[in-house]
Symmetry: C3
Amino acid sequence: MNASKTLGEIAQRIGGKVEGDVHARVGGVASLEAAGKTQLSYFANPRYRKALLGTQALAVIAREDAPHVEGMNWIRVANPALAFAQVADWFNPRTQPPPGVDKAARIHPEACIHPSACIMANVVIEKGAVVGAHTVLFPGVFIGEGVVLGEGCWLYPNVVVMDKVEVGNRVTIYAGAVLGADGFGYVFDVEKKAHVKIPQTGVVHIEDDVEIGAGTCIDRATTGETVIGRGTKIDNLVQIGHNVHIGPLGLICGQVGIAGSTTIGAGVVLAGQVGIADHVEIGNRVMVSAQTGIGRDVEDGAQVSGYSGFRHVDWLKFMLSAHKLPELLKEVGRLKRRIEELEKEENL
Amino acid sequence: MNASKTLGEIAQRIGGKVEGDVHARVGGVASLEAAGKTQLSYFANPRYRKALLGTQALAVIAREDAPHVEGMNWIRVANPALAFAQVADWFNPRTQPPPGVDKAARIHPEACIHPSACIMANVVIEKGAVVGAHTVLFPGVFIGEGVVLGEGCWLYPNVVVMDKVEVGNRVTIYAGAVLGADGFGYVFDVEKKAHVKIPQTGVVHIEDDVEIGAGTCIDRATTGETVIGRGTKIDNLVQIGHNVHIGPLGLICGQVGIAGSTTIGAGVVLAGQVGIADHVEIGNRVMVSAQTGIGRDVEDGAQVSGYSGFRHVDWLKFMLSAHKLPELLKEVGRLKRRIEELEKEENL
Amino acid sequence: MNASKTLGEIAQRIGGKVEGDVHARVGGVASLEAAGKTQLSYFANPRYRKALLGTQALAVIAREDAPHVEGMNWIRVANPALAFAQVADWFNPRTQPPPGVDKAARIHPEACIHPSACIMANVVIEKGAVVGAHTVLFPGVFIGEGVVLGEGCWLYPNVVVMDKVEVGNRVTIYAGAVLGADGFGYVFDVEKKAHVKIPQTGVVHIEDDVEIGAGTCIDRATTGETVIGRGTKIDNLVQIGHNVHIGPLGLICGQVGIAGSTTIGAGVVLAGQVGIADHVEIGNRVMVSAQTGIGRDVEDGAQVSGYSGFRHVDWLKFMLSAHKLPELLKEVGRLKRRIEELEKEENL
């Protein structure tokens, strides 16, 4: 799996150009700081210039304009980070476990498991569920009635997929995530003085190539679907409410919360701990700074920071000004007194 | 389970009045946008007027003053959302699974399981635990020593209930929630240079008709009890610290955090991602906006937004003003110069 | 386990001095409010003066300068909270379960389990893992390939420790926590219009005497290590990103989020729901208030509140001023008009 490869072979795989010894053998990948004499690293962000100049790496993937390093082997590419990701994947492929159903897994007779799937110990799969080719279920995974899992999915330990959730192909779900818990829907009965539950009879639909982080919760819809669009990547401990629709190619960072019935466009980036209220429409290619709270629609391409309604540029201006507010209050008091002096003299 | 019902039967069940064909048969419920020609929907919020006018639904539950729709069948009620919840529940009852203990469940001989309970595969129940009538434990649930679960509880997959936690009747706990982990209590030993753990020897007490969301954590008390009051509904990924007391009929939304020893009154609504400090007293019927941080007591009936101490009305005023602060700073600079001019001329 | 002990015995154990009946027998510990006539409590924070004056406790651990209470037995110490923690632990020791491997645990033949360890039902331990002496694994725990667990560790139900994670000695991990899920790393491929995964080939390293709360997620590094330093205590539902280094003796409260590659010094306190951006350096002994967002480096010993860049003292000043901003805007308008009047008269 980790057999060494030459710089030439690597360059060919990533469409790069070698400057140096095409026959040099690389044993693996590492960061610039940690790389040893048989390892390959990459340089993209000028922040790492110092690390580049001091690296022990055998070779570095970089653009043409990288700083000069005496005696270094280079693989020149247009996008070093992307190329490094491809090489790292080549050196560290995820090993497909042998197919089969562990004897300690509990599969309902009316579930349908592809023979090439790998079902590990203590997995429980309920009636009518379907598990696609090459899909891997780690110990403790629960698959509810009527769930459909596509091909090439990886569900890590203790993931829970509740009834009738649909998961596409090549979806990865990290440990402890929960898909299809009931959405948070109640209506208050004034007579009985109780919060009456609104049955959550909809489903969750995860499209192809989505990744869902550890501990993340995606609720089923009241009616209809909660949807995560193709190729979107969701980090850990994220909460997605019922009937939310997220478009393709999104990046949803850790501990984000999106309340029910909100729609989010394509290519949206939500930084960590962002909160979005219910029934909001977020356009395409919107970027939201960490911890921002959004309570109103946001148009395509906007950058949003701070509390609802601030555009990023305005939030920065506000934060710069905010430090000066206590002093400004005193200054205005002083100006007021000077005006009073002038007015007194004027009245004389 | 999903047998069709007539509008007349439905109206009778919810105390409504039919305007249209009492014999029309309804097959199920759906939203206004998604409903087909055999489905029932409801209209309450004017926001959905457009959806109402374009709906394909066979019938709509609504108040008398709903917009007119040609040819529509109506069931008139005072509270359409509540009535819809009751109908949705009638069409989609939660199916009680057959009673019994799965052969792959591990039950301590000194645990006491009611014969009508349903204990699924890979459940572990420890010594001295009690499980009440009709309670359902999904795969992977852990019930610790001395735990008491009431009647009609539903614990979804991989829920963990630690030792001596008490859960009332008709409590629903969604997948992955954890009740009774240790509270976060340490005291610093300056000599040994270590955080010394304060043993958390108290319990958690969940009252009747509570719902607890997926991934939510409710810690045991240092001594005494952490209490969740009757009929309170808690969303996903919420953190409740040790010795917190929450009153009845609360609504605690996703990712809220409440630190230790805080008390919360009855009927309190905490929107998403709210944070409440320790040893705070929140009164009855308080409503707290999303992402608000509360560090001081809040009186009955208050509405709180933004950072600690802002009443909602004041927070709105502040946010409206905040946009103007950078410009205000410049304006004050200009006024100062004009005053200086006036003072110069006055001194002549 | 809960056999009564005399005040004399207790005082000796904690290095305190009895004022009262050295032979009085104590049955257990409790808070001042809840303590009964055979229980011991403590007084440290003046906030609890009223509770002290009304307590039914047999004896109270306190400093010399505690308020006088007629007829009370005292154990005088310099640090009552610490002493109480030690006594509570003596009365409520964590009971070591009998060693052995449950028949329903699944242990890979090439895993190495110390004979004194306790492995409970439905635990899965993969190839090459090592479990140290006296370590306890509760039901549903997953231990991945090559994981090393030290001695005296306690992993509560459904904890997940992914491949090659290293855990030191006397580490406690509460239910549902996840160590070693993939870090959130992607690079965008413009040609293929896809977020390409950067393989996360590093590990997580947890040092001795760390505690990790329920539902908390600590991601493996891209390359290298994510490190939690010795004696650090982490609360529930915390998210620690890839390549984060946290120093020793930290206190990380509930729902904190720390993004990738950030380093945090020794003895740092992060209050609840704090968010720290990526690639930030937080010094030693920094204290961060609840809900604070940090986007820039913070020097040793700083206290930080509010949004990035506010020192605590400045944040308090800003919050006090912020209430006055709407009125300040109006006042400046009024001053402007008075200046205009003066200027008009000046021009006459």
